[in-house]
């Protein structure tokens, strides 16, 4: 497995105080939290930061990690030294707030500290007897708008405990193939009964898969509706007419009323995400001006200026 330099992840020196570590974590947590962040790859960065804080924020774990010494570099091939036993394996320390979604720590972390639960009081644990019945597994999957529109099948890789005959636990990888139905909204959950984590008794909880839509270059998604900024020519806005509008299902023809102002929103009913009812597509008109790059273009503009007696600043008294 690969070594992780947790000090580097948090951007602190090896002799940083616990306060400095906490401050660094909070700042990075705010920056990369998936619900808030616009950063590239925010979710993985957040998990990385959360894991680093789980290791360094607890003095016991930090002391154990420091024993590995400063000679290791991130990505380097690593095995725990012989006779290693992690600091506070399975026990977690009290944060003021816990670091991230229920404990999917890396192999590196688990090899050092065992498989704790990240201090997060799971709702599922309180109602299920986690030792025999298994618990719910929550995972997230990012898809493109096109997948949400047409539906898709996605492979999912989950890590879960495996119990051997003597009750010892190892982590194993499990691959699932999941159907994403068309019309799924961002943030919606798919419940796969009986596909969660197994308990000692072999029974599994449920798998809750949260679907998240990747940002799209053209459309902003709002529930089932799509929003689009649509460039139109000045004559299309002034005179009205039919314009071609892109939609996920292909281009459609839309009528622009005459004398449409910049920013006017027009609705294409039923052209959003599919469903009962289907969402709508809203096109906000943005007038785009032909550049005055040629003498002919400049002459046309001069004609307009001459013939149209138009002062857009009249109401301002200018």
């Amino acid at each position: 497995m690969e070594f992780k330099d947790y000090y580097k992840v948090l951007g602190v020196a090896r002799n940083a105080s616990q306060d400095d570590i906490k401050k660094a974590y909070r700042k990075l947590a705010r920056k990369y939290h998936p619900d808030v962040s616009k950063e590239h790859d925010a979710e993985n960065r957040f998990k990385e930061v959360a894991e680093a804080y789980e290791a360094l924020g607890d003095p016991e774990k930090r002391a154990a990690y420091d024993q590995l010494g400063s000679g290791w570099r991130t990505g380097q091939d690593f095995q725990p030294p012989p006779g290693w036993h992690g600091g506070g394996a399975g026990r977690t320390h009290a944060h003021e707030f816990t670091a991230g979604d229920a404990a999917q720590f890396s192999e590196f972390f688990e090899s050092l500290f065992g498989r704790g639960r990240g201090g997060f009081a799971s709702f599922a644990d309180s109602d299920h007897d986690a030792s025999s019945m298994g618990s719910d597994h929550h995972a997230r999957i990012a898809i493109d708008l096109e997948d949400a529109f047409h539906g898709a099948t996605r492979q999912l890789s989950l890590r879960e405990p495996k119990f051997d005959a003597s009750g010892r636990v190892t982590m194993q990888e499990r691959i699932l193939s999941v159907r994403i139905p068309p019309g799924v909204r961002s943030g919606q959950h798919i419940r796969l009964a009986g596909q969660g984590e197994p308990g000692r008794g072999g029974q599994r909880g449920d798998l809750y898969l949260e679907v998240v839509l990747n940002p799209h270059p053209l459309y902003r998604v709002d529930g089932k509706d799509l929003h689009l900024t649509l460039p139109v020519a000045p004559w299309e806005a002034a005179l009205g007419g039919e314009v071609e509008v892109p939609t996920p299902a292909g281009t459609v023809s839309m009528k622009v009323p005459a004398n449409s102002a910049n920013g006017r929103r027009l609705r294409l009913k039923g052209r959003g995400l599919p469903g009962t009812p289907a969402g709508d597509l809203y096109a906000e008109l943005q007038i785009a001006w032909p550049p005055a790059h040629s003498e002919k273009a400049r002459e046309l503009y001069r004609t307009m200026a001459r013939e149209m007696a138009f002062n857009p600043r009249k109401a301002m008294g200018a």
């Binding site: 909070r26 947590a29 705010r30 939290h33 619900d35 808030v36 957040f46 959360a50 003021e96 707030f97 816990t98 670091a99 991230g100 979604d101 229920a102 997060f120 799971s122 709702f123 599922a124 309180s126 719910d136 929550h138 099948t153 492979q155 691959i175 699932l176 193939s177 999941v178 159907r179 139905p181 799924v184 909204r185 943030g187 919606q188 959950h189 798919i190 419940r191 796969l192 009964a193 596909q195 798998l207 809750y208 898969l209 902003r220 709002d222 529930g223 929003h227 900024t229 460039p231 906000e284 943005q286």
Partner: protein, 99 residues
């Protein structure tokens, strides 16, 4: 190795989720949801707590609020403010899209 394709249940597809469903998906107790509703994060349908229904947008706001509390140490009032600000940012973002 081919894995057989699994099809699950899309939650909230009928347009509503129950309090119990929201609790299970968000992995919190009912009291947590009650507190967030009191803060105005979302307005469930139904008069009594036992009859509460949440629309998908409201359920999503609750889930985000819970994650902000859990991961960033925000309290319910701060979570409500953060949600409102994030929605405002989304609205503004589309306006500057083709700046």
């Amino acid at each position: 190795m081919r894995h057989s394709e699994l099809t699950g249940t899309l939650l909230g597809e009928q347009g509503v989720m129950t309090l119990a469903q929201v609790c299970r998906v968000c992995r919190v107790r009912e009291e947590t949801i009650v507190e967030l509703v009191a803060e105005g994060i979302t307005e469930p349908a139904g008069t009594e707590q036992g009859q509460w229904w949440f629309d998908p947008t409201g359920a999503r706001r609750l889930h985000i609020a819970i994650r902000l509390q859990r991961d960033l140490g925000v309290n319910p009032a701060g979570a409500a403010l953060a949600l409102d600000l994030m929605e405002e940012i989304d609205r503004l973002a589309v306006r500057v899209q083709r700046g």
